[in-house]
């Protein structure tokens, strides 16, 4: 049951984009088409899970034994940046089809604050290794869900008659606000 609570909280109640404001740049940037949104969601799922796993080990098996917790930010960001590069190289060699699907999104992910954010939140939330991985996957699903719903709305938005001053980015933010309002309806269910 506890696993279900973690997942529902991360995906719906505290949605990483709409309630915690992490990963806004890709949320606004790559949400024009549903296809790209799905690709980005997949890439984030992959990297976020891997990054949380690795940063967890660094935090508890390298930094903590030596009392170096204050180096958390610097080591996490370096590990994530290196990890993304490595994933890119390995994917290119091993699975060109997967690379084609996710490849163009990978460089964008290093500066996606959702990845670093979830790595830090896993530590702050006192999760174990299993809990942390579940939490990371759930957050990535939450990210993908928000992104895909938003892309679906934006595809329709292109056909609408929007007041001139609000066209483009401003109306997207208003729509995101309404979406966030809808997600607030989930609060209090767990």
């Amino acid at each position: 049951m506890e696993i279900l609570t973690i997942i529902i909280l991360a995906v719906f109640v505290n949605n990483i984009v709409l309630a915690q404001f992490l990963g806004i740049c890709p949320f606004i940037g790559v949400s024009k088409k549903i296809d790209t949104a799905v690709g980005m969601g997949g890439a984030v799922l992959f990297v976020m899970t891997l990054a949380t796993l690795v940063t967890y080990m660094i935090r508890y098996y390298v930094l903590q034994p030596y009392g170096l917790e204050f180096l958390q930010t610097i080591s996490f960001i370096l590990v994530i940046a290196a990890l993304v590069q490595m994933v890119e190289i390995i994917l290119k060699k091993l699975s060109p089809t997967l690379f084609q699907a996710l490849g163009i999104f990978l460089p964008l992910i290093t500066t996606n604050c959702a990845v670093l954010g979830v790595a830090i939140l896993t530590i702050n939330g006192n999760y174990s290794l299993v809990g942390g991985v579940v939490y990371a996957i759930a957050n990535a699903i939450g990210f993908g869900l928000a992104l895909i719903i938003f892309a679906g709305i934006r595809e329709h938005l292109d056909l609408m008659e929007v007041p001139k001053g609000m066209r483009g980015v401003p109306i997207s933010f208003i729509v995101a606000g309404i979406l966030a309002l809808a997600f607030m309806g989930f609060s209090g269910i767990v």
């Binding site: 709409l18 309630a19 915690q20 404001f21 992490l22 990963g23 806004i24 740049c25 606004i28 204050f70 180096l71 958390q72 930010t73 610097i74 960001i77 370096l78 940046a81 290093t110 500066t111 996606n112 604050c113 670093l116 954010g117 830090i120 939140l121 702050n124 001053g165 609000m166 980015v169 401003p170 109306i171 997207s172 933010f173 208003i174 995101a176 606000g177 309404i178 966030a180 309002l181 997600f183 607030m184």
Partner: protein
């Protein structure tokens, strides 16, 4: 470009938030009040100026291929310094900003300016550029924070703005949605629209 131009461009014309749409996560995440927006803006501005300074000093000693990792280390160091100092001297604000302080490291404005400006320009110009962008970022966050605070909690920098009716419990009846998550998106949407209009005229 003259100093005055470099300093003022970040304000409206090249505002990192309203026009360039960079650093949106902290912009939305911490601006529940004007003081939070100001604190976050100043913290980011400090990192921006210091990393611009260091990058422009050592730009010729860094081989091209390890440019980005070196910049990230420099930025992350200054972020950690800000994090530690704020935790020690302004613990209440540090707690409010929380996760978004370490996340300055992935703020596209900071790495973007180091890469696009400081790695190609003189030390003096890089500081001015960092200052200009930092002021622009702080301005944007404080403005959004002030708008949300006035509409959502009926206050401005913590001082109450007596324009709302009072309920029987003694607190003003405000548009609560603006301090909640949806209000961040909606408020920023309108501000971007207004700023676009101003920068075009």
């Amino acid at each position: 470009m003259s100093i005055k131009e470099t300093l003022s461009k970040g304000f409206i014309k090249e505002n990192p938030v309203f026009i360039l749409l960079l650093g949106l996560c902290p912009t939305l995440g911490v601006t529940t009040s004007a003081i939070n927006g100001l604190g976050m803006g100043l913290a980011t501005a400090f990192v921006l100026i210091m990393s611009n300074l260091v990058v422009s000093i050592i730009k010729n000693q860094i081989p091209n291929k390890v440019r980005i990792p070196s910049f990230i280390v420099i930025i992350a160091s200054f972020v950690t310094i800000v994090d530690l100092v704020m935790n020690a001297y302004v613990p209440a604000l540090h707690e409010q900003l929380g996760l978004f302080i370490p996340l300055i490291v992935v703020n596209c404005v900071v790495l973007g300016r180091a890469e696009a400006f400081a790695s190609k320009n003189t030390v003096f110009n890089s500081i001015i550029d960092g200052l200009g962008m930092g002021i622009g970022f702080t301005f944007a966050l404080t403005l959004l924070g002030a708008v949300r605070e006035i509409l959502g909690s009926g206050a401005f920098f913590g001082l109450s703005v007596p324009i709302y009716p009072i309920d029987e419990g003694g607190s003003p009846v405000t548009m609560l949605v603006f301090v909640l998550a949806p209000g961040a998106f909606i408020g920023l949407g309108y501000l971007i629209s207004i700023m676009n209009r101003i920068s075009k005229s």
